[in-house]
Amino acid sequence: MNTRVKFMVGLIGLGLILALIPLPGRWSIQAKPQNLLSQALDEKTYFTVDQVAMFVVSEDSSVQLIDLRPQEEFRKANIPGSINIPYNELLNNDPGRFFNNGNTKNVFYSNGDFESNYAFILARGMNFKNTFVMKGGLNHWLKTVMNSSFTGDRISARENALFETRTRAGKLFTEINSLPDSLKLKFMEAKHSAAKKLDGGCE
């Protein structure tokens, strides 16, 4: 058997192995650029910090906040209920692991809009429709929700509701981020059970 035939037989053997072993999931950007652009420009793509504050206060289980900042920054401070998937990790892992979660809305945020918009394009390009962006990122959250204050003599019902949501979300943010890491999760669990007790009724 000459060398070329041996080489081809070896390649066919390797090919057969590849055909039989389960390879990790693959994802590629399939959406058309113009569709991605129109989705990126669509207002429905974005949640305002006030909408996110409402999710946090109401502990909305249909929303998953995803913090794209590095782990060290996430540990220092994060929006309550969010999980940390650093941007680089998102790029280097199987995205199906993060986004194949049914009807849950995945809302990206980073310090500004840069990484979250990139992550959004990446995820929507791979046809993960359940991905969104918190507009303005954590910087805007700190500016709007954490520094919320009321001035003036009169307040409308709408303004009052908004102010109250911001205050409660801000308080939760401060409480959770002042805890050591090990207690943060327990705090959230305690909040869940405390809310149930207050609900009362037939439960």
């Binding site: 070329r4 081809m8 390649l11 057969l16 590849l18 055909a19 390879l23």
Partner: protein
Amino acid sequence: MPEWLDLLIALLIGIGFGFALEQAGFSSSRKLAGMFYGYDTTVIKVFFTAAIVALVGSQFMSYFGLLNLNLVFVNEFYVTASIVGGVIMGAGFIMGGFCPGTGLSAMSIGKIDAMVFFSGGLTGAFLFAETYPWIQTLANGSYKGPVKINEALGISPGLFTFLLILAAAAMFWIAELAEKRFARPEITNEI
């Protein structure tokens, strides 16, 4: 990774690629034209071997976690442009006796035909850019995105690789038969 390192790696790979092309005799337009006449099928054998070795290597590297295939660029598929461009490229290949890479390789060792070929390529690129507004609809028509053949066929990448290797083996066998059938002893590698 800093940009200069990317460029340095690209330069080293480019030099290696050019050296390999030249050493394999691909700077001879006779060898390349032989592909179309059947007397020398080295081109298809070399390029197809490179493709399947790269395919097998990248799949195994991905399996062992050494390469993230999600980050590998997949060329976008414009159906109309691919057909028209393929015809133009094929015609240029058979008339000029080079493809772009081998043309540069031959030019770098001073082949005059390669210099003329390369000038033709540059002229084509210039005309494409200048006439783009008129051919834009054609160039961007029937966009399919960066599709992969295995995804379009609905089979696993491993199975597709295996089928492609079988197809390559069959093609190599036919190519060897063609070389015997259309042998032209008067054409040598000496230029």
